[in-house]
């Protein structure tokens, strides 16, 4: 006799499904914003941007071997970082540019909201599993150590912005894949697997 889904398994699957939709929408909006950003900042769309300090890289080895907890924690850390990076981009945008790029500013602000909402969604998933949600205060304390990096030139800011958006687009795809893995029922019981288990 097949085991019925537990309420928490059903809730997790529901959260994962909604998260997948959020991430999919986020990716579509990032790609649109990337096109506008490249054009308005006068950048070359095919330009390679070196990895910038502080931008979380979506690239991962042995992705299929990650546990559910690892997936959630890495996603949460990434989107918290993107929240801060996008807020910084928005601030720089307001300083640099006037009315001509107001549309870009609005798009950045909307994306910042989506990223914040997705980070919250990930926290809900972690709470559901009775996992401790890492506090952002702990992350801030760790950052008190080294001195802040020197302020970037205008061109460096633009390139970093390009890197942030490109990496965010990759993360959005990775998040969809991660949430699909999390939503999979366990083959033994039909219920969702525990997050400590692989995958």
């Amino acid at each position: 006799m097949a085991a019925a889904d537990s309420p928490s398994a059903a809730l997790r699957r529901d959260l994962c499904t909604r998260g997948i939709r959020l991430a999919g929408k986020m990716r579509a909006d990032v790609l649109d914003l990337l096109d506008a950003y490249v054009e308005q900042q006068g950048l070359d769309a095919s330009a390679s941007v070196a990895a910038v300090e502080g931008v979380p890289l979506a690239a991962v080895e042995r992705w299929d071997e990650q546990t559910g907890t690892q997936r959630l924690l890495q996603n949460l850390a990434a989107y918290r970082a993107f929240r801060a990076l996008l807020a910084q981009m928005l601030e720089e945008q307001r300083e640099q540019l006037g009315e001509a790029e107001a549309g870009l500013g609005r798009a950045l602000a909307a994306l910042l909201l989506q990223v914040s909402a997705f980070a919250y969604h990930l926290e809900e998933l972690l709470r559901l599993e009775s996992r401790g949600v890492p506090g952002e205060e702990e992350e801030e304390e760790e950052e008190d150590g080294p001195p802040p990096p020197p302020r970037l030139s205008l061109f460096e800011q633009k390139l970093r912005g390009l890197g942030v958006l490109r990496e965010l687009a990759q993360w959005a795809v990775r998040s969809v894949r991660d949430l699909r893995q999390l939503a999979k029922p366990s083959p033994a019981t039909g219920a969702a697997p525990g997050l400590a288990e692989s995958p």
């Binding site: 990716r27 890289l57 992705w63 299929d64 490109r166 990759q170 969809v176 699909r180």
Partner: protein
């Protein structure tokens, strides 16, 4: 007599039809050289050299396993061809997502739906080369048209491997194809092998009257056989005479069936 020639710039193609396992590259020369050619391929991802393992067949192909997923760093593939008269090369640079293109769906089947003259039921399977459709689901694009028309109808389907066409023209043979794409990245596959199907049609039946007139068997009309106790119409409502005499009611029924076959 064909003259030996140095190689022209080779044609190189790279594609991932088994994402996320890896991708393959294949190549050929645009024109023959008539002497042996030697190919060497290098694949670089950022600063890392990757091994492209040659396939046993075909000989002009090799495959690479992904060591990382979701990377923004581009892949650079360089193919060099050398023969006794010279050398040439070509380079491809691409993103991980850009080359993802599944093989076409397999086992496409189209069947009529009993008692539904405007429906066709279509089903297919994921391409067998796609390693993990549960974690990396495919979406599908179905196209269909009656053979007598050139215009295709299109339907995009985000889940499932079946679809019921509900607007087929009655009695017309259809041609149907399906394509696949990863739900999130990459490009559409080529179209599947085409299948043909014709919607269900009712078999012609015989029309009888109280006078037991034999059936009319015109190719463009349909008639039905009424049960022996069924009274269809009165003698006074008959028109015509002899074997072709029919009553108005029966005539209207015949006309109605005739319209179905236009």
């Amino acid at each position: 007599l064909s003259l030996a020639a140095p190689p022209k710039e080779p044609v190189l193609m790279c594609r991932s039809n088994n994402y996320p396992k890896g991708f393959y590259c294949s190549w050929h020369l645009p024109t023959p050289t008539y002497i042996p050619n030697y190919f060497n391929i290098s694949v670089i991802h950022g600063t890392k050299d990757m091994v492209c393992e040659k396939d046993a067949t075909p000989k002009n192909r090799c495959h690479i396993r992904y060591l990382q997923l979701f990377s923004t760093v581009k892949y650079k593939v360089t193919l060099t061809v050398t023969n006794a008269l010279g050398k040439n090369f070509t380079t491809l640079t691409f993103d991980e997502f850009a080359i993802v293109k599944p093989d076409p769906p397999e086992s496409v089947v189209a069947k009529p739906v009993p008692n539904n003259p405007r429906r066709l039921e279509v089903s297919w399977q994921n391409p067998s080369s796609w390693p993990d459709p549960e974690s990396f689901p495919l979406k599908f694009f179905l196209r269909y048209r009656p053979l007598i028309l050139d215009q295709w109808q299109h339907v995009e389907l985000s889940d499932g491997t079946s679809h019921t066409i509900t607007d087929a023209y009655a009695g017309k043979e259809y041609i149907i194809q399906v394509a696949a794409k990863d739900n999130d990245i990459g490009t559409w596959s080529d179209w599947s092998v085409a299948v043909h199907a014709t919607p269900w049609t009712e078999e012609p039946k015989h029309l009888t009257t109280e006078a037991q007139i034999t059936e009319t068997t015109s190719a463009s009309t349909s008639s039905f056989m009424a049960p022996p106790t069924t009274k269809i119409c009165d003698k006074g409502a008959m028109v015509g005479s002899g074997a072709m005499a029919v009553c108005w009611t029966a005539g209207l029924v015949v006309a109605a069936y005739s319209i179905l076959f236009i």
